[in-house]
Amino acid sequence: MNFNLDLMISSFPLLLLGAGITIKITVLSVALGMVIGLFVGIARISNIRIFRAASAVYIDFFRGTPLLVQIFLVYFALPVVTGQRVDPFVAAIGACGINSGAYVAEIFRAGIQSIDEGQMEAGRSLGMTWGQTMRYIIVPQAFKRVIPPLGNEFIALLKDSSLVSVIGFEELTRRGQLIIAKTYGSLEIWISVAIIYLVMTLTISRFVAYLERRFRADDKH
């Protein structure tokens, strides 16, 4: 076996550029997923039947089909319908964010349902509307509780973002493939790629653990 350390070192800056794009896709997708997830999650437990039904369909569809297929749907199938090419960046963020939204919705739903019913009753008894009670009382408390599962979702999405390499988007995994195509250094490059992913996911999990500790300390006061 021939291990080329120089190749590893020389390709590192290029891979880091890819990692930067991976981070960008992930952060934007998580942001999109959180917004979608919050609304779909609340709709899932709303009193209004059509909201409940629509959010259930959303969650079932996007959790029940592979992200890879969803990326193909957005990038290749959607243009057939609209007649317009979809920008790979938009397709990547769109597919990842919409997919993540389904998972985040379930996380928020569970978090909201874990809050004692008495909190909603207290808010409503004071004359606040359902929406006001959700906004000021329920969601802030639920948010603290869902930080660990949201962290898991963040990590999962960062790894899954490698799938957008299939539409030619040059994030970390795709960069690796391109370098290997030129250098044939499969061993060195895939090890480098794996290490960079690992560093990123470990950083996130440490950060989530820190947030969790801070909020737990917050609860005790």
Partner: protein, 239 residues
């Protein structure tokens, strides 16, 4: 102030309230007693529509409760104190009290804070404004909950077993606050197991059993000369 006619409430197959007629006058203190599972908490919760009646009507201050249309308006006028306090644990004591006046009554922050501080002083907790509910004892939490309800300047206060979740040594401090409230002329409906308090503070005692008001009257009459056998048996167990 509160007027209830033919009120029935079922949970699934179980009929908890089997026809209640009741009217509560302004400044009246009505105390509801009765065995566990008799429906007294459900009756109280129907008065601010936390439970939707299966049949019959509940009217507060002349407004018939009929669901979302007017429910928030009525609830602004009806304060509720729960057995388990239900304070908002992520907010300071002061923020707990200020929230609803600001969001529902649209009162300026400075004024809401002033009122909140006055109410805290009124319930003997002036030093606890910046504390968080989990840092307080049960008795203190319940007094904050009373202050929070009072901040809306309600016309009626409902108390759902306000001392049942408290350690015995903390019951007195909460009852003191309620006693003063009654003396100040607040209209109150109280579900409680504190018979001494019921007798002292209540203008009228309702004995509820099996979903019906079995007996009612002045405290002296109900406690000294209960007419119904069921009332006698209940009182002999709790007194």
């Amino acid at each position: 102030m509160i007027s209830i006619e033919g009120l029935k409430k079922s949970f699934g197959e179980v009929e908890v309230l089997k026809g209640i007629d009741l009217s509560v006058k302004e400044k009246e203190v009505v105390v509801i007693i009765g065995p566990s599972g008799s429906g007294k908490s459900t009756l109280l919760r129907c008065m601010n529509y936390l439970e939707e009646p299966t049949a019959g009507t509940v009217a507060v201050d002349g407004i018939v409760l009929d669901g979302e249309a007017n429910i928030n308006k009525v609830r602004e006028e009806v304060g509720m104190v729960f057995q388990r306090f239900n304070l908002f644990p992520h907010m300071t004591v002061l923020a707990n009290i200020m929230l609803a006046p600001m969001k529902v009554r649209h009162i300026e922050k400075a004024e809401a804070e002033k009122t909140a501080q006055e109410l805290l002083a009124h319930v003997g907790l002036e030093g606890k404004a910046t504390a968080y509910p989990p840092q307080l004892s049960g008795g203190q939490q319940q007094r904050v909950a009373i202050a929070r309800a009072l901040a809306m300047k309600p016309k009626v206060m409902l108390f759902d077993e306000p001392t049942s979740a408290l350690d015995p040594e903390m019951v007195g401090e909460v009852l003191d606050v309620m006693r003063r409230l009654a003396e100040d002329g607040m209209t109150m409906v109280i579900v409680t197991h504190e018979m001494g308090f019921a007798r002292e503070v209540g203008d009228r005692i309702l004995f509820v059993d099996d979903g019906r008001i079995l007996e009612q009257g002045a405290p002296a009459d109900v406690f000294e000369h209960p007419r119904e056998e069921r009332t006698r048996i209940f009182l002999s167990k709790v007194l």
